[in-house]
């Protein structure tokens, strides 16, 4: 039972940074923009979070700075992709590389000194309940926040007019523009939101998951988040599901021996990537499944016609 709890909670925790980054990118892609710079933005968020924390400032400030840093970093991509109308793949890649470098730059000199990590919240009474307590009520605030964000984003996209506007911009920016909506402005906002979320995801890694700074500590989680969005066929609920799946893979690797799995850890670690490929193939063959949620204008530059 303890093992089960460990796996369950471990999965939730491992999934949290993915949830942040992937939900953010989902909103961005829903508006028709493809930002490959998630890895860079997450690292920037992670580094800034640690930096602020080392400066002795309180944790909430560190978290907010990380989000702000991510949003700022995303502007680099935004300007290239939305105003200069460069190839979005190249723009996103440049952000990844730049963000990786900047984060390492900020992070130099931190050493591996641990920081005051974000500790799990003790909810009076609820945390005490045997079994249910540790399973559901023993997480740090950011984990709960990730679920709140999921709810907010789902509500926003599907129950508000603004969300409707974002989705329809993703389908056809030309038609939206014809109706009179400021397509480029809205896309900028979406990109910055995605940056803030990626920053949060990175901050989670450096402030809660492994509370210290290591260069390149995201180790590809940004790319996995990107795959998660496709995996989820652009629906928020499926992002959660996919994040748990990937999170569980990570935990499997850690708890492999305890579970009696004798495969080498590398094989276990590669499962998420193989799974992603398989899912991508299946999804791409079956366009009807995707079509409804796929933002048709994804990654195509939009030039407002006169």
């Amino acid at each position: 039972m303890d093992l089960f709890i460990a796996i369950f909670t471990g999965t939730i925790i491992a999934a949290t940074p993915l949830i942040f980054a992937a939900l953010g990118e989902l909103v961005v892609e829903k508006s028709g923009v493809l930002n490959l710079g998630i890895e860079g933005m997450m690292l920037v968020g992670a580094a800034v979070g640690v930096w602020v924390s080392y400066a002795g400032l309180p944790m909430p400030l560190a978290i907010m700075s990380a989000a702000a840093a991510g949003a700022l970093a995303s502007l680099l991509f935004g300007v290239l992709a939305l105003t200069f109308l460069t190839n979005q793949y190249a723009a996103g890649l440049s952000l990844t590389i730049f963000g990786t470098g900047v984060s390492a730059f900020i992070g130099k000199g931190f050493g591996s000194a641990p920081i005051d990590a974000l500790i799990p919240l003790e909810i009076p009474f609820l945390t005490e309940i045997p079994v249910i307590g540790p399973l559901f009520f023993n997480y740090d605030p950011l984990v709960y926040f990730s679920f709140i964000m999921f709810g907010l984003i789902s509500w926003f996209l599907y129950k508000t007019k603004a969300g409707l506007v974002v989705r329809t911009i993703g389908e056809s920016p030309e038609s939206s523009h014809a109706i009179g909506y400021p397509v480029i402005k809205i896309r900028y906002l979406a990109v910055m939101f995605g940056g803030a979320m990626a920053g949060l995801g990175g901050a989670y890694l450096s402030l809660a998951y492994t509370p210290l700074w290591v260069e390149n500590m995201t180790a590809g989680k940004g790319w996995i988040s990107l795959a998660l969005v496709v995996f989820a066929a652009w629906r928020p609920a499926r992002v959660l599901f996919g994040a748990w799946l990937f999170g569980s893979m990570t935990i499997l690797q850690l708890q492999g021996q305890a579970l009696g799995i004798s495969l080498p850890s590398e094989v276990l670690s590669s499962l998420p990537y193989i799974a992603t490929i398989v899912v991508l193939v299946v999804i791409s063959k079956n366009w009807q499944f995707l079509a409804l949620n796929f933002p048709t204008s994804l990654a195509k530059p939009f030039r407002p016609a006169e």
Partner: protein
Amino acid sequence: MPSFREIQEELPNVLETNMTPRLELRHICKRYPGVIANDDVSLSIMPGEIHAVLGENGAGKSTLMKIIYGAIRADEGEMVFDGNPIASHGPSVSRALGIEMVYQHFALFESVSVVENIALSVSGTFDLAALANRVRDVSKKYGLPIDPHRFVYNLSVGERQRVEIVRCLMQKPKLLILDEPTSVLTPQAVIKLFETLRQLAAEGCSILYISHKLDEVQVLCDSATVLRNGLITGTAKPKQSTPIELARMMVGADLPETHLDPSTTSDTPFLNVNHLTAPSDNPFGISLNDVLLSVFGGEVVGIAGVSGNGQAELISFLSGEVLFKGADTITLGGKDVGQLDAGYRREQGLAFVPEERLGRGAVPPHHLSDNAMLTGHRLGMVKNWMIQRGKANDFAAQIIRKFNVKTTGYESAANSLSGGNLQKFIVGREIELGPKVLIISQPTWGVDVGAAAFIRQALIDLSRTGAAVLIISEELDELFEVCDRLYVICQGQLSKSLDRKNTNVEEVGLLMTGLNNNSNSDNSKAF
């Protein structure tokens, strides 16, 4: 006692309030580089009047409508709405005034529902449930029931148009503009639509009805203005005119007779289409129905028809850009080519000039020498998988010289040429391939007069060397100038072949506009 002057000033006002036109256009002009879209157009519409705007494609109807709606600005002239001049115009001004427009190509979002689509253009609180109720009420009232919660991708084209119309009706318009509304409707849906429009007109809404379908205009409209080449060629009361009179105003009676050398045609057709039926794979496409077509060597054959009647689909099958599964349905020189792609068909002697020049007929950023290679490479420009650059340059230079392409040289990029010159280059390239069959779509669209004449002559000359030439065009003038035989395409069906000498514009005009009684297919369905 009021002075005479005061009485004079009073009188027009008294008269006007009884007869204020809903909309008045005065001397509207709109020019684009190389063409005058609207040339001194004036018209007026009364409240409750259903007014048709007739004309062929390219006549200037849609431009005029966009000016009225405020999507484009006129270069000259003014508009007066309900007696008040419109100073600065735009789509929001139109909506405020009560002008609504249903476009020919709808701007609906497929991935969301009907009510969500409508919500995007409606201001106020975002209450989908209330909006859905309003949608139901309005749609029922006007006889166009729709379910507000259905997703648009699930709707047929006719149903989508209903959504567009209901969206307009919900704004309680004073002037409703409809651009070719029935090109996507079944006869029953057309009847329903007309009932709706009559109901609307009875309530005082003015309706501007753009169409080229004379039979419908006669049934529905009180009055009509006819446009041709940007000019008004006449006004009429459709219910009192004959279709022939209207057709004559649309397509014009003064066509210069061209001098065509007589030629002997080949014994067997070079290009043959044998009972081609192809259902469309997307809701906006046109299904082709039992198309029979043959083109012999030594002649120029034309396919007349308003754009959107199946030309694009047919052309893609003929060019090889889309493969056709049936056997022996498309043959080149007797050989079945349905399954061969565009490259292989060129080996068989086919050449093709598409209506899209940049992006399909030529690669925009490439220079002319590269573009010459696009289809010309089989003339010895490739040896051992390597490009023979010299030969490509020579070929490009040859085209430039022979076809009078105004450019600095074969090093210039395709997208630096004017439309007319690029078209001359592409036409030249395909003709210089020495094909047995040349298919060309909209040969002189957007091309200046001089280049147009040049291209037409080149097509005639090509046929006189023994090749088969097939022209698909919307311009009847052009077809009558160069063709020996004509077909007419309408709603995916092809008419019987007409000899140019034995027909005239009126007959062809009628066939183009839907009075298709002599389709050569075995199952001519009523549409």
